[in-house]
Symmetry: C2
Subunit: 326 residues, 2 copies
């Protein structure tokens, strides 16, 4: 199975590493909008091409993993590339998924290709767990908590404040809220009760720290609805202790069964990830395998993780997974 | 969707209750090997038939959920019924799954029906989580812990000892082992290091409690390889505090990503169930929906949870699940 990597940031590098862990796959190459000569891949055997040349390789790439941003890249790239390639993306703007699905479905069907969108952990593995749990326990409540983990969007928002040199923001689940959910209390939780925001900020020399802290805490949408803690630290400390990109979270469903609804059940799925982009990349690569197999069986059009049978993700044969994993 | 319930013990009663929570389904009836007049269903609207008459209803039942035991019932019942009905079972003798699959596959294909076997939580939801996690993190380790929960097989084994009036056995995961796994230590754990066994025993009047305790602790396969605690209690206390059938457990995979395998990830799935049979029944019912949809699309033969796309389990339409759950 020959996999193309379209876009080469943190996610693309994660995909390159992940493919090396999957013996039934090989990297066809990286496609970059930059000058290919300026891109240094993780492995020196990986070829680098310009995105301008991609159509030349239409018949040589089995699946293209698109590693672009959800804000502006993917809404354009995924439908456009789905006309000519089997594609996977990690589109994560939840509210715009129906539109992105429709656009990609049309293009993929026209091109007789398969596309799997919104692959990763949320959307992705968390979505799957919400679906499985709600199908099993129709009378119940769903809870999703994120963190502890770095939010790139919130870190960027802090860095845009005047006087800020660098920043890193962690989203943290509120432990007491998690415990109430696990105990089956079915609480109604406000935004503030579910998560806190923890910020590490490097201020420029002479900057007004009080004003920076106030601007962070009052920032609408990003911070105003949360209990936010701001810690000013040195660039050295930030570089030493906060350069990783960890993330994770919890999907919990509590529900009732029995004639009198007398029995409670708790289904919990959690992730603790050292590297958000590398884990997301690993999910993308597993779904690239599924896309290849589904297309080989004749399926076309846009799919999501909900449409993919789990067996299609595994390197093992159906006989092996039944014998070893069931 | 009309569902038949074949066999009416704890699991069959759970299925009857679960169908009442799924608005797109109705109970066709219960099929029992006993005299139908002697069976009292949970809901007085539920019809009861003899298993002898089942072929009369071949065209009226969409899916038959077979609620028999794995030791002797299901190896016979499932292939036999799959010749005439779409069927679901919860066959849980892990080592015999390949054989049961082959027998059922042949029968289902001959009858042009669909069969989904080994549905429940282990095998079932735990198997799914082992598969998803290993596909995402190919370089890693899997751990499954069970409990705290009642093991019927171990409780029965104690009840067969001379002088024992009643007994209840709980399988308990060892917390410190769980913590080592979660911390990514990748420990190699013996049977004894993973689980303990906790027994509540009611002795007959005048019975030799020391001998009973020794016989339990030395029982090969069931108890000898575990740290076992035996508590003698009164029948009243057992009836008051130990009549439930709770269970649950944990599936954890830890794995590494990155060029130097420098990043660790922990994927954890856990269940905390007040009623093992009612939860298993709820999983069976969700997969009955999938069986019906897959057969409607023309699929036949034997399947497992690995072959079922998650969307087929949900009452919601594909548009709804993309909009609400992705």
């Amino acid at each position: 199975m020959k996999i193309g990597i379209y876009g080469y940031g943190n996610l693309g590098r994660g995909v390159e590493c992940s493919i090396a862990q999957n013996k039934d796959m090989e990297i066809f190459g990286i496609f970059t909008r930059r000058n290919p000569a300026d891109v240094k891949p993780m492995f020196n055997t990986t070829k680098v091409y310009s995105t301008d040349d991609i159509l030349k390789f239409k018949d040589q790439i089995d699946v293209l993993i698109i590693c672009g941003g959800s804000a502006t890249d993917l809404p354009e790239m995924t439908p456009s590339l789905a006309s000519n390639f089997n594609v996977i993306d990690s589109f994560d703007t939840h509210a715009d998924i129906p539109k992105h699905f429709a656009n990609t479905d049309l293009a993929a069907k026209n091109g007789k290709n398969i596309a799997i969108i919104s692959v990763g952990w949320d959307p992705g593995m968390f979505s799957l767990n919400r679906l499985y749990a709600s199908a099993i326990l129709p009378e119940g409540n769903d809870y999703t908590f994120w963190g502890k983990g770095v939010s790139q969007g919130h870190s960027d928002a802090i860095r845009r404040i005047e006087g800020v040199k660098d920043a890193r923001q962690y989203t943290c689940p509120v432990e007491s809220a998690l415990e109430r959910v696990r105990n089956g209390e079915n609480p109604t939780l406000t935004t503030r009760e579910k998560h806190t925001r923890l910020c590490y900020v490097v201020a420029k020399e002479g900057a007004d720290k009080e004003r920076i802290e106030r601007e962070i805490k009052e920032m609408p949408k990003y911070f105003a609805d949360y209990d936010t803690t701001v810690n000013f630290i040195s660039q050295e400390e930030l570089d030493k202790n906060h350069k990783g990109i960890p993330h994770g979270g919890f999907v919990i469903r509590t529900g009732k069964t029995g004639k009198e609804k007398q029995n409670n059940h708790v289904i919990e799925y959690s992730l603790k990830l050292d590297s958000n982009p590398e884990f997301t990349a690993s999910v993308l690569v597993a779904y690239a395998r599924a896309a290849y197999r589904m297309r080989t069986r004749g399926e076309i059009g846009c799919k999501t993780v909900f449409d993919v049978a789990p067996a299609d993700l595994s390197m093992m044969t159906p006989d092996e997974i039944r014998a070893k994993m069931l």
